[in-house]
């Protein structure tokens, strides 16, 4: 009985993929984003934080000082603030293709939050994955890709096997008998 290995995202050859706990995928972009016009793929952010606890101090500082400037600079993103008592602080980001990313920001400094927000804004909506190739092409072949019958004679369809012509051994150099024939022909022509 033959075991059929299903093509699942997580079962991959360790020679190809570094981290098998991440799915492997080819690099993708959201509908040629950036070739013509760039559209920010981040749709909305939700900041959930506590007004009193020490874990949320960084996020509270960020909201007081830098958040409004950041949201003005990125006007395409909707920002929601949700104060939640006695809960760890969290950022939830949603992207245009439907991806939802949850990230805990417990004990983050405001500077760290800025760095993370820049990352979350710049990424496309596709989930993090091991890239199998840094290049992805819509039309890899212009002439048509190779197939086993491309350079073969079409008479193969009509051959009766065994065929003496196609089964013959291909010599690099002429054989002794062929050399003799050549020599006799040369002598005939010279005469």
């Amino acid at each position: 009985m033959v075991k059929i290995l299903e093509l699942s995202k997580f079962s991959l050859n360790r020679f190809i993929v570094n981290n098998p706990s991440l799915p492997a995928d080819y690099i993708r972009n959201a509908y040629y984003n950036g070739i013509g016009r760039h559209v920010c793929q981040l749709q909305r952010i939700t900041f959930k934080f506590c007004k009193t606890s020490a874990d949320s101090k960084g996020i509270r500082q960020f909201i007081e000082t830098d958040l409004v400037d950041w949201s003005r600079a990125n006007s395409g993103v909707v920002v929601y603030l949700k104060p939640r008592r006695h809960r760890s602080p969290v950022i939830v980001t949603e992207y245009l293709n439907g991806l939802r990313h949850w990230m805990g920001v417990r004990k983050f400094t405001p500077v760290e939050l800025e760095w993370w927000l820049d990352f979350l804004r710049d990424r496309s909506g596709y989930e993090l994955s091991q890239l199998m190739s840094p290049v992805n092409v819509m039309l890899p072949s212009v002439q048509g890709p190779w197939h086993p019958f491309l350079n073969r004679d079409t008479r193969l369809n009509v051959y009766q096997f065994p065929d003496a012509e196609s089964g013959a051994y291909l010599y690099d150099k002429p054989t002794a008998s062929q050399q003799l024939i050549q020599m006799s022909q040369q002598s005939n022509t010279s005469q």
């Binding site: 997580f10 360790r14 570094n18 981290n19 706990s21 890709p145 350079n151 150099k173």
Partner: protein
């Protein structure tokens, strides 16, 4: 004074740091996130998972180095097959191309052979005429001439 243990503690992963206040669950789940693709108990049970993980991270740098040589091997295999199909040899093909001034590596040659087979055939024809023109060996003399290539010697 240098406190080496404090310095080393900065670089130990979370699953090896013993913090007394939090439960052991969080320390262990940070490793189970990485061993999710392992089989059976190796992904769920701590004692087995930590051993498998320490071994796998020893294998990773070795495999990263092997990967380049394996992929190059694959590309050379493909180019060999493509060249043999057109009745020529790999070493002669590569040496003739470098003499023509075409410094194409095996990766690009393999991609051309797979995705642009007619271009590859013309490259093989070019190499054959160059090899024939050199005329050093018996093989060069006995090689059949090929259509479609014009060299300076012919003009």
């Amino acid at each position: 004074m240098v406190f080496l243990s404090q310095i080393c503690m900065k670089y130990t992963p979370i699953w090896l740091q013993k913090s007394g206040r939090r439960s052991v669950f969080f320390r262990r789940v940070s490793l189970f996130r990485l061993t999710g693709a392992f089989g059976g108990l190796s992904r769920n049970c701590w004692k087995i998972a930590i051993k498998k993980w320490t071994k796998s991270i020893q294998y990773k740098p070795k495999y990263r180095r092997m990967r380049t040589s394996m992929i190059l091997d694959l590309y050379s295999q493909r180019v060999l097959g493509a060249v043999e199909e057109h009745g020529f040899k790999l070493e002669l093909f590569l040496s003739s191309l470098t003499k023509c001034g075409l410094e194409l590596d095996r990766k690009s040659l393999a991609n051309i052979a797979v995705y642009e087979p007619k271009t590859f055939e013309s490259l093989v024809n070019l190499a054959k005429t160059k090899f024939r023109e050199e005329g050093d060996s018996e093989a060069a003399i006995n090689l059949k001439p090929v259509d479609g290539v014009i060299t300076r010697g012919m003009l």
